[in-house]
Each structure stands twice: as structure tokens, then as C-alpha cells.
Symmetry: C2
Subunit: 436 residues, 2 copies
């Protein structure tokens, strides 16, 4: 990979999620050469993907072009690349665009959906870890309603309208809530010739309560909110199989053409780096150094810093990833200065989930709240994190009124275009000598 | 197709472009049952697709969900359907979702790209008649720049950065202008390690002047604007072939990995309707009745009302299509009232094209102008037409500040999702009897 070799130490960061992006941003002005690698040319604001899937937001509101983030940043290089493996002995990253040497490597490759080995569910269910998956889900939901208009039996209509969500974590809860609001406020107007009241939104949770990582109070309130919005919540139920028409739990069948899988995530580490634990995450020490790999660090969802208090490592959350990115940036700067590295001390900033308008739950370090106050908190936090996107929304308005802001933000390769291959005519090598 | 049979006369409209959509909107409150058919669930604002392709606008700014337009409209039915043919004797429309009878049929199926039989150019070039094509082009342009970073020869870099546009009509001119502004204001910031000055934007026009359907003055000014923005404009040149690396005109070769074809359009009539002329458009009389097909009308780009003054029919433009939609709606209402049909008298509202900020050309019935005034006119006209979209942009802001407007506008099937087919388990027919 042709990145200029300078006398600066090179840090290669794999992944531009919350962890990798925050790290790169906080290394601005440092003595390092920074190379950021990602499969896409944009950062995805994963916590809001469920809104794209439910037609609430356009892709450009939850994605952000990486190059725009780092405009005018010196000694910074971004490349779209797929990392195949890492050779820690030779200190080389192996990508689909050749090899790249590193002085320090940071693996921030995040998480992927865990189907627990059920291949059929993996093939037939929808998940929501990427903007493409969220758009696929948006399309499928709408296509099913269009198809329902053409269906000639009530059974087929129900099957097409029903949506089953597996997994009672934040994603499942927020998605169920958004779908319930679609059902109440949008679909009846869009489909007057369908009996939307027949549509069932079912949330299946294996555990005895929703939002298991939050307080009992939050779980109870989230359940209450969802039920008040007409969502059927099934607790202590496990989805065993799906045949594209019917979901099979341990003891019942639910007809639905849409199965959304948000029941599990696992790390997606790069081959050849460190020790991988049960959650498919890589073990790191309290400096985020990968055990057994020199000068290799890992942060975010893919990293697991276990301790007696945290046998499973830190929660896989955006806020945690950002906190770790900032911390590691400072430690890396200490390396240059020859200072001693600091131990990571995690600050629990709490967690929240929103179910619908004025309906959210928040567990904060100092207090817990549910309902409208929690919803405003959720709003505030997300607006804060979304500042980059808000700028772009404003730019969009600027456009509507003033036509053209020169730096438009939507430079995203959301659906890579595949060109066909044909027999060449003429002589492509000659193209140098053309006078245009 | 299961549309309820009532005692109302049924008008089937094929196509929800400017012509079909305007017609359906203006038939609101009439004594007809209206059935609108389209391949997509949204209307596309085609004149602004070039802005999607150049990362200026998100898809939701130039598309609009059809169901949202017709919410609460009585006796109106929309269906996503692909019309295979029309049996004018049996008065039946044959679709991929079965047959549909009509009392009156309106074909408003619009235009398609005309490659004049050059299959290789059709396979390898990009065109911009749909939102999908515009998004493909956006992706390709960005992918090429990412690839250029990896290229190891100057020739390959140039090939990847260069863009050749064929066709000097409004689309070609506006696209060339937008690309020139990208090159000047966006790409150098996004790709500091590429020499963007090496990028060539070439506009190839077969005729002796740009915008042949506009005044000499407009053509001259458009050429001046584009050249001042660094676009290479080749007049009297015809593109003969393309091998995916090099464009071959009658007398030169231009290296480029992106060839955009906006050199021709032709109608896309439905099989079995009327007489098709050279432009692949269907012949209509001055009532928009299709010659030789009873109770069948056609408006918009696909319809051709020829006369001595207009041997080629009316120009294929959005404003013309809207004018015809309104006119036909009124004539159809006259049929119910038993009144005599009116002859269509076309009002030339003029035409305009924008090249860049403060750079546009406008030929209006009463006066012609170029530059900043024309640009403000263009702005005004498009803002006027865009009112539906502006509402949605405002809704997006509402979201950013207030989180959730209940009626979100982005209900678009932009990329239909294809589900995999697998062997079923259990018994799908049983799904009726499920207790959820």
C-alpha cells in the first residue's frame, strides 16, 4: 500500500467506528504518522441505524464521510481496505491492497452479529450492524406492505405485515418502539386499504427481562412502554428456527415474513492478533495492549479488558468506545514523550434507551429516571454526539434556500458499483499520449 | 390485481412521473376511481438527479413517496407494478401482478436513455434516469478516487480521475458544472495526496453548440461558463466507442474510467398501445388521445403531439409534462359532465439550465437572461417545484431538534431487497392458527 515512509513513527488504526475515529481525532497534532483503514469511506452512527430501517432518517444523517472529518489534518492517511490478517512478527498489516508496515497497531474492528451458529436464521433474518443492512430492512418492510395489498388471503396479509424482533437489548427495544409508532401514525395513512390493526409487532427476549444490562426499574418501564404501544413482548422465549414464513420458538409459532435478529453480538477481530476469548473479543491488559503482541493495541467492542469486577470486559457501547479512544490517544502520546503509560480506569457514564416519543429509560451514575425526562436526556446526548450530522442537516437547509454549500457532506459509497468486464478495443496502454 | 370494482368509471394511469403524478393530483375529487401504477413507490424529481450523482443531495431530497402525496385521497389506489402490455380490445392492462381492466387508460411512462444501438457503451457507460443510476454514479466517482490513491502510474491515476460526459443538453451541462465545482471546492480537501489539477472533465457534444434547444446566446454563455470552470468542451464530436479505459471519438482518444451518457433519450411506451414514431414516442392527437386506441390517452415524454410547427412534438421536459397533466385532468372531468373536449394549446414556459453558483441560462417567453439573474430564476422555479421536499427537509430539522415528527418522509424502496430461497420447515399453511 503506497503510504509515504517518513521519519515519523506510524500508527495504523483498523476500523473507523467510535473507537478508531475518536482515537485518530485525538492524535491530531501528535508526532505520529496516522493511517486509518476501513472497509467503507464513512463512519456509521450505529445507535441510530434503527431509525434508518424505520424510515425515520436518511443514511446521510447516521453516516459521516471520514475524509471530511480529517480535512486539513497533517500526517494523516485514510484508505479503504479490507484487512485480511496481521503479521505481528514482521509488524505488517496484510490487506486486499497489499501490505502495510506499522510501528504501532490499533485494532478497533468492532462487533458483528452473532447468530450462534444458526445458519438458516443467518440467511433469512435481517440484522442492523451496517447502513446497507438497515436500508435492506427498510426496503423489505415496505415491500411486504406493498405485497400485502396483492395477497388474497388474510393469513398471507398478516404474515407480510407482522414483524418479529429477536433480542431485548437496546436495539431490539428501540426498533420495536419505532415500528410501533410507524404502525400507529404512518402506515394507516399510507395503506388505507389494509387493516393495519392486524399487524403484530413481536419482541422475543430469551432473558426474563428486557434491557438486562440496565436496572430492574428501566427494564420494567421499557416493558410497560412497549406494551402500551401495542408491542407483544415475549420473555423467557428462545427462537429456534425460521422458514421464511413462520418463526418457531420453544413452544409457539409466529407467522411473519420479517424476522429481525438483534439477539447477539460478538467481536470481529483480525486474524493473527492476540488471544480471542468466548465473546470473540481480543484480550487486552489495562493499557489496551493485546496480550502476546508487541506494539499492538485494541479498543472498542472488539477489545475485552477483563477483571474480577468485569469478567466479561466493558459493555459494547459507543460511549465506552469513545472513552477508550481518547484514553489510548493520550497514552500513545506519552510513548513519544518517553513518559510512563497510564492504567485505564473506566468511568461508567451509564446507559439509556428510547422507546418512543417522551418514552425513554436512563440509568445514570448518580440517578435513574424513566419517561419524559429520560427522553430529553437521550435527546440531549444524541444531539451532542450528532453535532457533525446536524451541521450537514443545516447545510441541506442552506441548499433548499440558498441552493449550494460548496462542501456537501454526502460523499458516501453506500452501494459500491460493480462494473462489467468486457473485451477491450484499441490499446489502453496508449492512453498516456492523449491530448485532451 | 385486486382493486375493488365500484360503479365509478376507472382511470388507470401508468407512470408516476411529472405527467402521471400531476394528472392524478388534479383528478382529486372527480367522479372517477383512480388507479396509479409505477415500478417504484416514489416519484423521482429527475431534473435534480445530477445533484445526487455529485454528492450534492441525498436521495430523499429528489424523490417523494407516492403514498404520502395521496394520503386521505378518496377513490385512489396506488400499486407497484410492472406493466407488460395493454390489450386495447379487452381494455385490459397486463402487469406482473395480473390483469387490470380500465374505462380510461393514460400512458405516462416517460423516457429512457437512448444509446443508439451501441451495446458496449450501454454496458460500460453510466446514465442518470433513475435514483439508482444516480447513486451508482456517485459511488463510481468516489470509488475511482479511492482507487487512484492506490494506482502506481500517473496514467492510471488520470484515467481514474477523468470524467467524460457525452451529450450537451441540460443534463450534460449541469452535470459537467457540478463536477467542476466538486473538483474546485471538495476533492482537493478530501484527497490532498492526489493532484486534482490532473483531473479532466470533458463534455463531448455532437452538435455545433451546447443546449441546442435553447437560444444561441444561452448556448454561448453556457460554453463560456463551463470553460471558465475548467471543463473541456468538445463540439461537433461523436463518441464512437469505449473500452472501459479509453473513450474513442471520431478523431481522438480520451482516457477515462467514467463515461456518462446523456446524449439521447427516447420514449418508453407500453407494448400494444398506438403508433410508435421515430423517437419511440406514441402519436397522440390534440386531445392526447392515442391514435387507433379507444379511451387511451398519453401525456409527458412518451407522448408525441406533432404538428407543422412541432414536427418532433413537444420538448421532453418536466414543465411540459405538468402542463399536459393538468390539461388532461380537466378534459377527463369534461367527459363525466358530458361536455365537449378541449384542444390542447401548448404554452411555452421557456427553459433554463444551471451551470454553477450564480451561473445559469434562462430562455423565457418574454426575455432571455444569463448569469446571476438566471440563476436566481432557476432557484425560484426549483424551490417552487420542490415544495414537497422542502417540507421533508424541515421535518428532518424538526427531528434534529425535537427528535420525531410522526410522519417521516423517507419511505422509499430505493434498492429492493432480494430474499434467499430455502427449504421450508414446519407447515406454513398452519400459520393461520397461531396465538400471538
Amino acid at each position: 500500500m503506497n503510504i509515504p515512509q517518513t521519519n515519523q513513527k506510524r500508527i495504523v488504526i483498523i476500523g473507523s467506528g467510535f473507537a478508531g475515529l475518536t482515537l485518530a481525532q485525538n492524535l491530531k497534532g501528535s508526532a505520529f504518522q496516522i493511517v486509518l483503514l476501513d472497509r467503507n469511506n464513512y463512519h456509521t452512527f450505529q445507535p441510530l441505524l434503527y431509525q434508518v430501517a424505520t424510515s425515520g432518517l436518511e443514511p446521510d444523517s447516521v453516516t459521516y464521510p471520514i475524509r471530511k472529518v480529517f480535512q486539513h489534518q497533517k500526517n494523516f492517511f485514510f484508505r479503504i481496505a479490507d484487512v485480511a490478517s496481521v503479521d505481528t512478527k514482521r509488524k505488517m498489516v496484510v490487506t486486499d491492497h497489499g501490505e502495510l508496515s506499522y510501528d504501532y497497531l490499533v485494532m478497533a474492528t468492532g462487533a458483528q452479529t452473532n447468530f450462534f451458529g444458526n445458519k438458516r436464521i443467518e440467511d433469512l433474518s435481517m440484522s442492523m450492524k451496517s447502513i446497507r443492512e438497515a436500508l435492506d430492512l427498510r426496503s423489505l418492510l415496505l415491500q411486504n406492505f406493498e405485497e400485502a395489498l396483492m395477497a388474497n388471503t388474510e393469513g398471507k396479509k398478516k404474515e407480510l405485515m407482522n414483524v418479529v424482533i429477536v433480542g431485548g437489548g437496546p436495539t431490539g427495544v428501540e426498533l420495536a418502539g419505532a415500528l410501533a409508532e410507524l404502525k400507529s401514525y404512518v402506515l394507516p395513512n399510507d395503506y388505507p386499504d389494509l387493516d393495519i390493526s392486524q399487524m403484530k409487532i413481536v419482541l422475543v427476549q430469551g432473558a426474563p427481562r428486557l434491557l438486562p444490562n440496565m436496572s430492574e426499574k428501566a427494564s420494567a418501564k421499557a416493558l410497560e412502554f412497549l406494551q402500551s404501544m401495542g408491542v407483544v413482548v415475549l420473555l423467557n422465549k428462545v427462537v429456534k428456527d425460521y422458514d421464511d414464513h413462520c418463526i418457531f420458538t420453544n413452544d409457539e409459532q409466529i407467522p411473519a415474513r420479517t424476522l429481525i435478529w438483534s439477539a447477539g453480538v460478538m467481536g470481529q477481530p483480525v486474524t493473527g492478533v492476540g488471544e480471542i476469548n468466548r465473546g470473540n473479543r481480543v484480550e487486552v491488559d489495562e493499557y489496551f495492549q493485546v496480550r502476546g503482541a508487541e506494539d499492538v493495541f485494541s479498543i472498542g467492542d472488539v477489545a475485552s479488558m477483563t477483571s474480577e469486577q468485569l469478567p466479561k470486559g466493558h459493555p459494547m457501547m459507543a460511549s465506552v468506545a469513545c472513552q477508550q479512544g481518547i484514553f489510548l490517544a493520550n497514552n500513545l502520546k506519552r510513548i513519544v514523550k518517553g513518559e510512563e503509560l497510564k492504567r485505564y480506569e473506566h468511568i461508567d457514564r451509564g446507559s439509556m434507551a428510547t422507546v418512543g416519543k417522551n418514552k425513554a429509560v436512563a440509568d445514570l451514575p448518580n440517578f435513574k429516571t424513566q419517561g419524559i425526562l429520560a427522553w430529553y436526556l437521550w435527546m440531549f446526548v444524541h444531539l451532542f454526539l450528532l453535532v457533525g450530522f446536524r451541521n450537514r442537516v443545516v447545510a441541506l437547509i442552506d441548499w433548499a434556500w440558498g441552493y449550494f454549500t460548496y462542501d456537501t457532506g454526502i460523499r458516501l459509497i453506500i452501494r459500491p458499483f460493480k462494473r462489467k468486464v468486457v473485451e477491450p478495443v484499441g490499446n489502453p496502454d496508449k492512453t498516456e499520449s492523449v491530448n485532451v
